[in-house]
Subunit: 497 residues, 2 copies
């Protein structure tokens, strides 16, 4: 794509001024419309060093209401950021609905500069492309306007600009050793950029190549691009949405034909109090030790707990963490999303909470709400929850690729056991707070949940981030199974690393 | 996904009979609806050996009108098929609109058995997943119903079935050495299948896992799946289509801001007759020799010619092929698609024509019609031609990955030169047939074509399958440039191989 660019393009000052004024007015208006329509916008600036990313961003924001955007300068990862999957720092910086985020170099850094400097392996490179495409696709599917600008100059022009900067002490510091190296090996760096453009020029997030030799020309082209894309998004948002997209395939079985996992669980499994106490002591000791080793080896741990109401999640989490060093783990209770969370992609709040290397996050309820409560209560469309299986697999895959241990527990009890526990809670003044009308209402939808859970377990249990169904009618048995599973997984991971 | 399957599922004979009758009636009706609505359908059967793919297909087709479907038994590639990209044999077997194609094992063979038997490298494996997803996505976007069935049995059940087959001479031949090996290393083969399921369980072509221990249960589940998906497709086809999907981003620039490649071409370039003749002789000789070497090294060559009407495509192709061995190349003239071609994906007819290893296909007009004439005349939707850039890049990428040399020529002349040539043709009785009213009409759309061509050149010129703009006002210069480019590319490829 790059070799064909005509980098001699220019614009005279007069035309520039006249057009800019008009475009600025349009962009200002569109920003307001995006805000009203709650359209989030990401604008990524990439391109060759000294092509003018910084000054073009400065030009672009002239037209924007400063309360509605933010600019992120993306540098080398900080030590803290390096302790997360590489996309984490971008997930956490996605704008909320109605806001604009501008990135001065972006998530593409990974496959450009880091690749050029051989900071990633070939295998990581393939994963990185997959992750980037999944990231953009998920956001785009969720309504994000994604604008990707690539600024082009040629080797000679770049060298000229470096030389000019190097002339004065005030600006010389801006030219780094890396910049000069990439200028010298321009052809090689160009090939890396070319590959990147090809692999990520998708219909949902296409690249716009901008001839940047002449700054005025580039500014007008960037304004025009941003305006075009936002206008299309605004128009689309105003149109009624199609019920079901042509390409989404629906599958629904009656109960008999469903692939059932829950019904297979043997709920008669149990332990005596004595067995329980003995095992608990041994396992808690092991977990404490393993948790320390995970910390030393910088391995992150992600545990998700789901299950029927009163299934015993809280009790299991309590036993699991009892002997763990509290500086090394966080229990993250997941409630309905709050105002701010609702303005983001549904996975955003979970990305925020992911553990850094060496730490553990234990989620009491998880991102699987998307394919359970949100599916059943109609909080998202059918298309959205059907898409979510892959989105969730992609996210967990990113975590595993970054070195994490990921396990999801489903605490299974039967309907009678749930009723018994509900009644018990109602009677017990200390536990009354635990039981609400909503719990009873959810109980009425038992069959719907069962269907959703079975589908979820099948579609999202993978060897690297498995679902573990915990037979939970007997609390002793359930807790020991959870602890034993964690011990086994950590031991296996430590052995392999 | 596999580990969670409950393989004990069963169905009694009575229920089975009753339901099957009802389902067969429904499926027959849906087949007729798909035919009327021109929906093409692909049903892929995968799963463990002896899980019953063959007999389930036999059950399924009971309900179908035999004039409307065909079954493809996918075995190891033939020697002939091995001379094409691995998806070629599936591209050429995609059903036309309104027809059903059933695959007894499918394009997944590549990443399952061939992987297990180490017939492909890790790098090829990554490419294969990309190609498979692109293949399914393109077909799905084009309106194909894609149904993917995976039949599960466990190691023990599989062994039991093999043993039963081995008991009798009449059936023992059906159990291959490979079958037994995969049974022994079941865990390893399962892991390969698991990865495949995860990587390709997409919203546009999801997998359905079918518990196949009990044949009756499996049959009913397969019928139900096929019916569900076809019914959803039929319903979707009846709904009005949304104009522009939410996720597609539009970009339109006025002429000044367009990335222009054509305007950069220096059309004053020329050669004297003497220079031309001298060069032609040398280059034709070289091409003859290189063509022979390509044949020996089994390297396929794909050349595409596009350009303005009267741009000189025919003359260039003539000079190029004059000394080539006619058994080793085909010139493929591309006209408007015929009846049968129109019933397929727009890329289908080009896949059919691709050269096998060692051969050359020279396309006089190409698949780029999608983003030129079809775009401008409104023969496809905006969404469709915008999607086509990536689809075309993916296709050419598959060719290059399979070892081919791919070059695309754009023969550029200016508007005056075109007029001169049109007038000349009009005056010359021998050339009159070459000029039609349509040529004059197309000429009126010069500016629209220029915009489309510029965008095409930028979005689809890649280092591995580049566009070469040929300055064509002087025919001598143009022909020599074409020949020289081919010589250089072949020499480079032979050097590298």
């Amino acid at each position: 794509m790059l070799e064909k660019m005509d980098l001699t393009k220019k614009m005279d000052k007069e035309t520039y001024k006249e057009r800019l004024e008009e475009l600025q007015a349009q962009l200002g208006e569109l920003q307001r419309e995006c805000k009203t329509l709650e359209i989030p916008v990401m604008i990524a600036f990439e391109g060759f060093d000294a092509a003018g990313k910084g000054s073009q961003i400065a030009e672009l924001i002239q037209a924007l209401d400063p309360r509605g955007f933010e600019v992120h300068a993306v540098k080398q990862e900080t030590e803290n950021e390096r302790m997360y999957p590489f996309l984490w720092r971008f997930w956490t910086k996605t704008p909320e609905n109605g806001r604009i985020a501008i990135y001065d170099s972006s998530w593409y850094r990974r496959v450009l500069i880091e690749r050029f400097e051989k900071l990633i392996t070939n295998e990581q490179l393939g994963d990185a492309y997959d992750s980037i495409c999944a990231f953009e696709r998920q956001l785009s599917d969720g309504g994000m306007a994604i604008i990707k600008i690539f600024l082009c100059v040629d080797q000679k022009e770049q060298r000229k600009r470096f030389d000019k900067l190097l002339e004065s002490k005030d600006t010389a510091w801006r030219v780094t050793k890396g910049d000069l190296e990439r200028n010298e090996k321009f052809a090689k760096y160009l090939a890396i950029n070319e590959e990147m453009l090809q692999k990520t020029d998708t219909d949902y997030a296409p690249w716009t190549l901008v001839e940047a030799t002449d700054r005025r020309f580039a500014t007008i082209k960037i304004y025009t691009t941003v305006i075009q894309i936002l206008r299309a998004k605004v128009e689309a948002a105003k149109r009624p949405k199609p019920e079901v997209p042509q390409s989404t395939v629906k599958q629904e079985y009656d109960k008999e034909l469903q692939s059932s996992i829950l019904s297979k669980a043997d709920l008669s499994k149990s332990l005596t109090e004595e067995e329980y106490k003995k095992n608990l002591k041994v396992l808690q000791k092991k977990i404490k030790k393993l948790h320390g080793e995970m910390y030393l080896k910088r391995i992150p741990l992600v545990l998700g707990f789901e299950g029927w109401d009163a299934g015993g999640k809280g009790g299991a989490i309590k036993r699991l963490t009892q002997k763990m060093d509290p500086r090394g783990y966080v229990v993250h209770p997941t409630a309905s999303p709050n105002d701010i969370e609702r303005k983001h992609h549904y996975l955003w709040r979970f990305w925020e909470a992911m553990p850094k290397n060496g730490h553990a996050t234990i989620f009491d309820r998880t991102w699987y709400g998307r394919v359970m409560v949100e599916r059943i209560e109609g909080f998202c469309t059918k298309e959205e929850w059907q898409r979510a299986y892959k989105e969730i697999n992609d996210m967990e895959n990113d975590l595993v690729n970054a070195g994490a241990v990921v396990i999801k527990f489903w605490l299974q009890i039967d309907k009678d056991e749930q009723e018994r526990r509900f009644e018990e809670r109602k009677m017990n003044p200390e536990k009354q707070w635990k039981i609400t009308d909503e719990d009873w209402r959810n109980r009425e939808k038992w069959d719907q949940y069962e269907e959703a859970v079975d589908e979820m377990l099948i579609r999202t249990s993978t060897p690297k981030s498995p679902w573990v169904v915990v037979e939970g009618n007997d609390k002793y048995y359930a807790r020991i199974k959870v602890l034993q599973t964690v011990v086994d997984a950590l031991e296996a991971k430590l052995k392999e690393s």
